[in-house]
Amino acid sequence: MSGNGVDTTEDLILSVNNIEVIYNHVILVLRGVSLEVPKGKIVAILGANGAGKTTTLKAISNLLKAERGEVTKGTIEFEGTRVDTMSANQLVERGCIQVMEGRHCFEHLSVEENLQTGAFTRRDGRAAIAQDLEMVYDYFPRLRERKSSLAGYISGGEQQMTAIGRALMSRPKMILLDEPSMGLAPQLVEEIFEIVTKLNKQENVSFLLAEQNTNMALKYADYGYVLESGRVVLDGEAKALRNNEDIKEFYLGIAGGDKRSFKDTKHYKRRKRWLA
């Protein structure tokens, strides 16, 4: 993993070494994924549907067991200690939390209660928690309006905000964000990324995000990995990736310097596959 721009002397908050993941004893999904997140950086994982982004994040946060998946090879280290045998709860206590893809709000709890559960592992008193609650409401004013509604009834985007807000409530050192922009209005997408940068800059929170909105992701991230069929096929500084011709073509939709229109895309077009 060296020689590609990451300063190896830098402190790593997270390092994933060559992990393999199998679902249901038979479905091999990750075939040796390695990646690193330096402290205080934002790292993005890109990749097509089914490439294994979600699986990677769940492997890190130890949520795979709940889906009958398991890490069969490789190691995962968070702040230098191995965490692959820990429970999800211990990891959260250590400061690493995941925002799950597809919202996963607690339907029968109100929005506010949802946010409060995010502070489950915190021990720093009600006042601090209340303060953070205000912070979340300031980030997402829409949530304040709906704070007493059951999370099951609010709109998709509102649920997404709740899920993100809930993670913020745990005051983590590192957040694993799985498709944070999904279903959010454009304005909000930008706000989310602003929040990410703000936390990153002001509170030194590190981020690992799986994101389909490549444009945004590469704009805000420091470093990026491209995943395909359970393998890392390309990685590099975000800037470098943005200028990579293939990325431009297939992830950013910029052909010859101009943005393509969706109307003009042709069927049966050539697809880039690094692992042909």
Binding site: R146, Y153, I154, S155, Q187, Q212, G253
Partner: protein, 265 residues
């Protein structure tokens, strides 16, 4: 259907929504919204989160019953009804939080879209030989066309619960298409897709619209997609209609920029 035919058809309204209001307890999800959808067009609905877009689709296909207002569908005033009636009238739908039948294979999911078109009665299904099998094969063939069309041959037999999100969205579209709807409602069909996949999806939507003449109402947050695909755009905010017009008009509407698009666009 060729382009000229499409233009002619556009004259008629397939759906007219007039003065719809919908509330849940104290929450007013939709406030007095009126708009129409013309036959053969692609109609986008956009708006900030919680604006009432999904609720609007729910009203159209009978899942929510508005407290006020009228709906005219294909020229007739529609009354409150159970959602399956909407399906029989040719309205199909995909969902924001994928609502596939997770335990069934892709093939079965799409086949289930043909449910309304299958007529052979129960007793024949006991023995399967004869009419039941014939009908099954007939519809299977159509479904295979859709599978080819959406390029999901490889996952035909996979239970959809195991598919990655993007593919699930595609299967869902397939299921809706299998219903051969006149009006297709798409709720964020491209959420969670990367550009390449969005391009594919756009292609499918355009092709459906083009080849089958299906009218489409779609909700989407990717402005690129909305502006490129749609013929007209309806903008909701806090349950109210704040703008309605062609993509170009919308792009430059100050209200819309303030409430939804933000500065960048």
């Amino acid at each position: 259907m060729n382009v000229a035919a499409k233009d002619i058809a556009k004259g008629q309204n397939i759906l007219e929504i007039d003065g719809i209001s919908l509330s849940f307890g104290g929450v007013k999800a939709i406030r007095d919204v009126s708009f129409d959808v013309k036959k053969g067009e692609i109609r986008a609905i956009i708006g900030p989160n919680g604006a009432g877009k999904t609720s609007m689709l729910n009203v159209i296909n009978g899942f929510y019953h508005p407290q006020e207002g009228t709906i005219n569908y294909k020229g007739a005033k529609r009354h409150d009804m159970r959602p399956y009636v909407a399906a029989t009238q040719g309205i199909a739908r995909t969902f924001q939080n994928v609502a596939l039948f997770a335990g069934m294979s892709t093939l079965d999911n799409i086949m289930s879209g043909r449910m309304l078109k299958m007529k052979v009665s129960l007793p024949w299904h006991f023995i399967r030989f004869g009419p039941a099998e014939r009908e099954e094969l007939e519809h299977r063939e159509r479904v295979e066309h859709i599978i080819d069309f959406l390029e999901i041959q490889a996952i035909r037999r996979t239970p959809v619960g195991r598919l990655p999100y993007g593919l699930q969205k595609r299967v869902e579209l397939g299921r809706a298409l299998a219903m051969e709807p006149e009006l297709l409602l798409l709720d964020e069909p491209m959420a969670g897709m990367n550009l390449e996949e969005k391009e594919d999806m756009s292609r499918y939507i355009l092709d459906v619209n083009d080849q089958f003449g299906t009218t489409i109402a779609l909700i989407e947050h990717d402005m690129g997609v909305v502006m490129d695909l749609s013929d007209r755009v309806l903008v909701l905010d806090y349950g109210e209609k704040i703008a309605d017009g062609t993509p170009d008009e919308i792009k430059n509407n100050q209200n819309v920029i303030d409430a939804y698009l933000g500065v960048a666009h």
